[in-house]
Amino acid sequence: MWWIVGFVVLLIKVAVVLGVLFGFAAGMVLVERKLLGRLQIRYGPNRVGPFGLLQPVADGLKLLLKEDIVPKGADRIIFFFAPAVVALVPLLIAAVVPFSSDLKIGETRIPVLIADLNVGLLFFLAVASLSVYGVALGGWASNSKYSMLGSVRGAAQLISYELSLGLSLVPVVMLAGSFSLVDIVNAQAEYPFILVQPVSFLIFFISSMAESNRLPFDLPEAENELIGGFHTEYSGMRFALYFLGEYISMVVLGALVAVFFLGGWRGPVLPPLAWFLIKTMITPVFFIWTRATLPRVRYDQLMQLGWKILLPLCLVNIIATGGIALLVRS
């Protein structure tokens, strides 16, 4: 009988996480437009509802009702499938993120995450690499030169930054001694890892900016060079899926930054979930701030930063962390 209860609890957790993430993605669109507006001394959307709060609803309706155009010569199956990959990947990653400390109902403790994988971190890296398929195949299937260029850039960029993304987490694993995200949070009981691994944090932050195709690394989209990059030919709900994926991945990467470096749900006074939300929002807000601040880097600068600076820095950081850990423990 107990497995049925466990299954129902799991389903509830999945539903809550899905709902909250979709809500956050819609909210992030509004937050981004509002904040970006204020950073550029304008108001941002303020026409739909009070203070423009209903703008996400209007945007969603608009995208749902738009015509779904498939370009002539497009590879229809891949064209239909590619946006789903981009939207699916951050949702899958969210499955291993611990949102709060265990929920206690009587004697039973319910962990507030969907799956406590003992290789959670590797799962995150493996699944995150899949999003390159959404970008690359979507651009390729569109049968358009702009999409093609965007997807080629996207593939090259995502693969380059995947490396630093993975390697920047190695010191975290060395400190926590586990690949499980729950263990990583528990290992930060005394101090968050950002204090001992600032370089790692910086590299992870920059790489995740590049992973989520945000300015200054939005070369796959590059509106003023490639029209829309890999999603040039997409419209309506499929276009919305790409955007949903981008915004959910912003939130999820924020959650991961919180888990890996900011101590997850830990914090004084406020309840764990509130701390987690605050820490999660730091990254997306900083992404938006960055978008308002920095111009897009050139393609060769992007590659140079990835391969010649971040990657060696990661390796040096790993060796240094290992050396210091050896010294401290012996």
Partner: protein, 184 residues
């Protein structure tokens, strides 16, 4: 060693540049937005703003337009058309006068070409319509009850009026050409 120092300096310069730019955008976050909320806050436009075209009257309340066709000729989009006519006392006027605002680009050349300051552009730009034919303005839509920008000017005080003789009867003046029977 020296090279290393300069490289370090360059790195510090780069980091400083990035941090500075973040500070600038953060400063702007706390500034009051400069947006004008258009339908609620309307800006007072300069009086020489070029928008909706009107036909003005002279200080005596007569139509200034003498139907000389100069505005029609100068109009780059050919949106002005009219037919001239003559009153009993020899003063010319437009029988009908039509501006197609769907084609008008508000360049103001008609205003410059007008010898009697009849045709003038006003700052009123809010006259979009749901139907394109509603943008074709006839003479009664264009004619206003004032002098517009030049309240004193009266063309017929200077020219265009018969003095002593009728048309074509001044010394050395040819008879007016009758265009309807001007066949060779």
């Amino acid at each position: 060693m020296n090279e290393n120092e300069s490289r370090l300096g360059r790195i510090m310069d780069g980091i400083g540049g990035i941090v500075d730019s973040y500070a600038v955008t953060l400063k702007h976050l706390f500034r009051k937005p400069i947006t004008e909320q258009y339908p609620e806050q309307k800006k007072v436009l300069p009086e020489r703003t070029r928008a909706r075209i009107v036909l003005t009257r002279d200080p005596e309340g007569e139509e200034r337009c003498v139907s000389c066709y100069l505005c029609e000729a100068v109009c780059p989009t050919d949106c002005i058309s009219m037919e001239g006519a003559e009153r009993g006392d020899g003063r010319r006027y437009a029988l009908w006068f039509r501006i197609n605002f769907a084609r008008c680009i508000f360049c103001g050349l008609c205003e410059e070409a007008c010898p009697t300051l009849a045709i003038q552009l006003t700052p009123d730009f809010e006259f979009s319509k749901y139907h394109v034919l509603d943008l074709v303005y006839e003479k009664e839509d264009l004619l206003i009850e004032g002098c517009g920008k030049n309240s004193e000017y009266n063309y017929y005080e200077h020219a265009g009026v018969a003095v002593g003789f009728d048309k074509g009867e001044h010394p050395g003046e040819a008879k007016p050409v009758d265009v309807k029977s001007n066949m060779p």
